[in-house]
């Protein structure tokens, strides 16, 4: 499928601020499952935008605005083609010893250890006990853990903040996509399965209602034996399919937050975010189909 995504973030300040520095993770990745064909970032006030690829392979944009400004607006527009199946099947199972035999495993220290927002607390351990052991089949366990979160946690906005710890959201049994992703990642890592955070988008025009479509979304990828990184969305209880667009991967939210920054000035800021994701009607492809159909008709007439 092909999508256009407009992601606008605006900060308004009670009084003008100055010397603001902003770092963005807004450019969708290009990999085997999706391809970002177009990306534009426009900033108000106007300034030069720089970019680099970070250690995870994400594309990062950053810029500075020195003079006083009462508003900072960042608009990212991208077009992405996704090539995942519409209804992916659960992969076949594999025991833990298959994972332990994987030579890549020892290189995944960062995805096996706690990270700033993914810590192993008492509540998390209790949740892990509820779900059970992963020994015999880590694949099944992963999907089961993800589903367990979907079924037992309530999606409630403003129950948590970007700083909420995993243990706190486990205690609340509530949160938003970011919290659910962190909980699943923490469960995986606690059980010796490498897991990483994915920020991205989910398309809501797929019939059944989905959660997390009005802003940027987040989910989890686990490293599974003979499969590699495999995405699961614990917010919607779904294996990642063609309706998902990946922006960036990291240890947790902090590595890939869509927009973060610092500025000078005492004024408090208010942020508004607007994400619009549309399926792109491909004119060229439709024309080609129409032409082929017309030619077929002509041939039949002859």
């Amino acid at each position: 499928m092909q999508f256009t995504i407009a992601h606008e973030t605006t900060y308004r300040y009670a009084e003008p601020i100055h010397e603001s520095y902003t770092i963005c993770h807004l450019q969708p990745l290009s990999d085997l499952d999706q391809y970002c064909t177009r990306f534009e970032l426009s900033v108000i006030p106007r300034t030069r935008v720089f970019s680099y690829a970070d250690r995870f392979g994400n594309f990062v944009q950053h810029f500075s605005v020195i003079p006083e400004h009462p508003l900072l607006s960042i608009a990212a527009r991208s077009t992405v083609v996704t090539a995942r199946p519409q209804d992916p099947q659960a992969p076949s199972g594999a025991p833990r010893k298959a994972l332990l035999a994987d030579p890549q495993l020892r290189l995944l220290y960062d995805f096996l250890s706690p990270s700033p927002l993914v810590e192993f607390g008492r509540n998390l351990r209790a949740l892990s006990d509820e779900i059970g052991e992963a020994e015999s089949d880590v694949v099944a366990w992963y999907l089961c853990a993800g589903k367990y979160i979907k079924d037992n946690f309530a999606y409630i906005k403003r129950a948590t903040t970007v700083h909420t710890t995993v243990d706190e959201s486990v205690r609340l049994r509530a949160g938003v996509c970011q919290d659910f992703a962190h909980v699943l990642i923490a469960l995986c890592r606690l059980n010796g399965i490498p897991a990483r955070y994915v920020s991205g988008y989910i398309f809501s025009g797929q019939g059944d209602s989905v959660l997390g479509a009005e802003a940027s979304h987040a989910w989890c990828e686990a490293y599974l034996p003979e499969i590699g990184w495999f995405g699961y969305d614990p917010t919607n209880g779904k294996i990642i399919n063609e309706y998902f667009v990946k922006i960036a991967i990291g240890r947790d939210y902090r590595d890939v937050s869509p927009v973060r920054g610092v500025y000078k000035g005492l004024a408090k800021s208010t942020m508004s975010v607007n994400v619009a994701m549309d399926e792109l009607y491909d004119v060229d492809r439709e024309r080609a189909l129409a032409r082929a159909f017309a030619e077929q008709q002509q041939q039949q007439q002859q």
């Binding site: 010397e19 250690r55 500075s64 020195i66 220290y109 250890s113 610092v262």
Partner: protein
């Protein structure tokens, strides 16, 4: 009247001055003669004079454990430590080899990670280091040089063999004492220099500046260098001002820097002025609130991205701490073999791996005869000196080690060498170490500038200035 130094009795360990029969070693004989010819009262008078000169000059450091942040002078001992040319040649080769290997290690762990993939250094050890800076992964630094300035702490065991105690690869301090000690000694006690021509230390600041010029971004032929200090309350602020003056470069604080369009500038009375090389005396964590501690005002927002883009050189590079993590220290000989295919010229002090259950058991049973250090601490803070410890202290360390073995290392107590030192008017043996400084611009160089620190308490093995140590002028003899 007995001449000074005549009654000097060394202890049951290696003495720098006296040999096994109590006679001065050849390179100390002239000094013994000069000192012997001076009356005790004249000598005392000079000691007082030196201390007043140092206080007047403001050669001070701040002691952190003192709540008022008191300024004190580092006690300066008049009797110089003398290093003969043969010793220095070996030391210089040894520390240069070490710095070369450590630099290669840093480049490797932040890029290909060959040494980890080949299992010569454990992958988890590096990734669990508090100083392993993930932001540095895949970041290229100018000339692939990370360790522009290092201070390698050496000690001598009972046989007189030089051993490396630790590598200081972040922001080693002490060079101001080297410069001031020499200057003060020349002015207050010129006779001592009779028959000796120690190699000069004065050109260190210029050599440092030249080394930094050579690692400037390629965009400029005439780089602007600045020293970044945490400010007037930092313990080494005196050193920062001294170096800035002698190098002829600007001394800046974080608030003086501003980054715009990925370029670093200083705020000056003539507007923004570009900075190409930052010799920073600020820790990694405080350099850029965007990437590291968000509450830090000691660095500048945007600095790290300018660095990543190659528009500014930061010296030492960000992330060098992973190589002087004390838990990584035992692997330095392996690094020398791995990267240089050479045998280490200077040996390590044997170190127990506390991650290994058997060794950890042994250490906990023998705490009373071992030294335990925190892997990430420096300056003599947070260590256990086994033979001088109480049972309660040992129990606390045993618990801490069991709870987090990665945080600690243990070593046998090495009897540091002793050196004649003036203690309340008498000349007595006191333990010393040696910190030579190594510069790395386009090549590694070892200026003949080394700091000798001395433990002023009898029997003490801790020479750190923060723990009541003093310093000596250190004479490195030429050919």
């Amino acid at each position: 009247m007995q001449a000074l130094l005549e009654g000097y009795v060394s202890q049951e360990l290696f003495d720098e001055f006296a040999d096994e029969r109590g006679e001065p070693r050849p390179h100390y004989r002239a000094l013994a003669r000069t000192v012997g010819a001076i009356s005790t009262s004249d000598f005392r008078h000079r000691v007082e004079m030196v201390n007043s000169v140092l206080l007047q000059r403001g050669v001070t450091f701040t002691v952190y454990s003192d709540a008022r942040g008191t300024e004190r002078i580092l006690p300066f001992d008049l009797l110089p430590r003398i290093i003969p040319v043969a010793d220095w040649t070996q030391i210089a080769r040894g520390i240069a080899q070490r710095v070369r290997a450590l630099n290669a290690f840093l480049h490797d762990v932040y890029h290909e990670q060959r040494i980890l993939l080949e299992g010569k250094v454990p992958y988890d050890l590096v990734y669990s280091s508090a100083f392993f800076n993930r932001e540095m992964l895949d970041v290229r630094v100018a000339g692939d040089v990370y360790i522009h300035v290092s201070g390698i702490d050496l000690i001598r065991d009972v046989s007189g063999r030089y051993l490396v105690l630790e590598d200081n690869l972040r922001t080693p301090s002490g060079i101001s004492y080297v410069l001031e000690n020499r200057d003060v000694l020349k002015r207050s006690f010129p006779q001592l220099f009779a028959e000796y021509m120690p190699l000069p230390v004065d050109d260190y600041p210029i050599r440092l500046r030249e080394a930094l010029r050579r690692v400037a971004p390629a965009t400029t032929d005439d780089p602007t260098i600045a020293i970044l200090t945490p400010g007037i309350y930092n313990s080494a602020y005196f050193e920062h001002t001294l170096l800035a003056r002698r190098m002829g470069v600007e001394l800046v604080e974080g608030q003086d820097l501003i980054v715009h369009d990925n370029v670093v500038y200083m705020r000056t009375t003539r507007g923004l002025s570009r900075v190409d090389v930052i010799y920073r005396r600020v820790d990694d964590d405080y350099l850029d609130p965007l990437f590291f501690r968000p509450d830090s005002a000691l660095g500048a927002a945007g600095l790290f991205n300018a660095y990543r883009a190659g528009n500014v050189t930061i010296a030492n590079a960000v992330g060098t701490g992973v190589a002087d993590d004390k838990a990584v220290y035992p692997y330095v000989p392996a690094m020398i073999r791995f990267y240089l295919s050479e045998e280490p010229i200077l040996d390590n002090v044997p170190t127990y791996d506390l991650g290994d259950l058997r060794q950890r058991r042994h250490v906990i049973e023998h705490l009373h005869e071992l030294v335990v250090k925190r892997a990430t601490a420096s300056g003599g803070y947070g260590m256990l000196m086994g033979p001088a410890s109480t049972a309660a202290e040992r129990a606390a360390f045993a618990d801490a080690i069991e709870a987090n073995p990665r945080e600690f290392i243990a070593q046998p107590v090495i009897q540091l060498s002793s050196h004649p030192t003036i203690v309340e008017g008498e000349i007595l043996p006191r333990r010393v170490d040696l910190r030579p400084f190594v510069l790395y611009g386009d090549e590694i160089e070892c200026p003949p500038a080394a700091l000798t620190r001395v433990a002023l308490e009898n029997g003490s093995l801790v020479v750190n200035s923060s723990q009541g140590g003093g310093s000596k002028d250190t004479w490195i003899l030429g050919e």
